[in-house]
């Protein structure tokens, strides 16, 4: 079986024990993280490269992964733009990316898709994990790196950083534990320029939302 991608692994980590998506899957932070995960994978596959100034598109050739190809198509190429600006712009497609990642997990037999009705009217969708192997393995990898002094692989470093920035860690670690592991999270999470840009974009968005709510108060 093809290795699970970063974008799929992040989506998988938001699925709770009852098969529902964690509330964080609807947050701005998680949406930006999904865009970041796609960009990181496109970078690894040689379609883009990133520096402090901009995202540079190297090739438009599709990679054969629906979520990644969607992001690749939407990247501006007329003039290279800073990664943070592109992340914020691309967040308009984050719902599609989450659907595509979930769809891919269903197709690969990692999760199931079940539709139920609540009070005979409201339709709810659940995605229970089938044997839980991939989800448990991802959580264990994250925990083992956070609790040791090992250095992560590039994949695990960005998985940890994005899971932290997108609020995904809260699904299996308590707030106290996350606070206690903060130094380690800072040390080994997001050792990557794109992941750092995601964190910057989330911070800028939260500041903007804070300013807007302050203006509304007055």
């Amino acid at each position: 079986m093809m290795m699970i991608s970063l974008v799929e692994e992040l989506a998988l980590l938001t699925i709770e024990d009852d098969g529902s998506l964690a509330p964080t899957a609807d947050s701005v932070g998680f949406r930006f993280c999904m865009i970041g995960a796609c960009l990181i994978e496109l970078n690894q596959l040689g379609r883009i490269d990133v520096d402090l100034e901009a995202i540079h598109v190297l090739s438009r050739e599709p990679v054969g992964h629906a979520a990644l190809d969607l992001v690749l198509q939407q990247l501006h190429t007329e003039s290279p733009q800073p990664a943070t600006a592109q992340i914020r712009r691309l967040s308009a497609f984050s719902d599609d990316l989450i659907d595509l990642a979930i769809g891919s997990l269903v197709q690969r037999g990692i999760i199931d898709q079940q539709e139920k009705r609540f009070l005979w009217v409201l339709k709810t969708r659940r995605y229970p994990v089938i044997d839980g192997k991939e989800q448990t393995e991802a959580k264990l990898r994250i925990l083992s790196l956070l609790l040791s002094d090992d250095l992560p692989t590039p994949h695990d470093s960005v998985l940890i950083g994005l899971a932290d920035a997108g609020g995904v860690l809260e699904g299996f670690l308590s707030g106290t534990e996350i606070a206690r592991l903060q130094d380690r999270l800072q040390q080994i999470g997001s050792l990557d320029l794109i992941a750092r840009c995601v964190e910057k974009a989330i911070q800028a968005e939260r500041e903007l939302m804070g300013q807007i709510s302050l203006i509304r108060t007055f």
Binding site: N43, L151, L193
Partner: protein, 118 residues
């Protein structure tokens, strides 16, 4: 990227020069893998002298994480030195200064290496 490799005492000094972008990253990665494996006998220390490195992208940076991880797994000391201001900024922004020892010059890097116990 052009890479020169030399030995100074117990350390292998790697000197990449030019642009370390996606196009150059895989060749540099292969050279680093070879240096760090040391044909079955990993070196005591590896110093990367980045004075000749003009540019580094996200793909180039990934080589440093893979190399630092491999060095840690074999107890090889790993130091990076001589970075230009722009490359050093990339290291700092992406948090690499927290996992890799950065030194200003090759002399500083070589003196920072722990001497093997007799």
């Amino acid at each position: 990227v052009n890479v020169q490799i030399e030995t100074q005492g117990t350390a292998v000094v790697v000197k990449p020069s030019g642009r370390l972008d996606f196009a150059a990253a895989s060749a540099f990665q292969a050279q680093m893998d070879e240096v760090l494996s040391g044909s079955g006998q990993p070196p005591a220390a590896v110093v990367i002298d980045g004075a000749g490195m003009e540019y580094i992208s996200s793909a180039g940076l990934r080589v440093f994480l893979v190399a630092a991880r491999a060095a840690k797994m074999t107890n090889t000391q790993f130091v990076v030195c001589g970075l230009t201001a722009s490359v050093r900024e990339v290291f700092e922004v992406s948090g690499f200064d927290r996992i890799v020892t950065l030194k200003a010059t090759i002399t500083d890097a070589l003196s920072a290496l722990e001497r093997p116990a007799n």
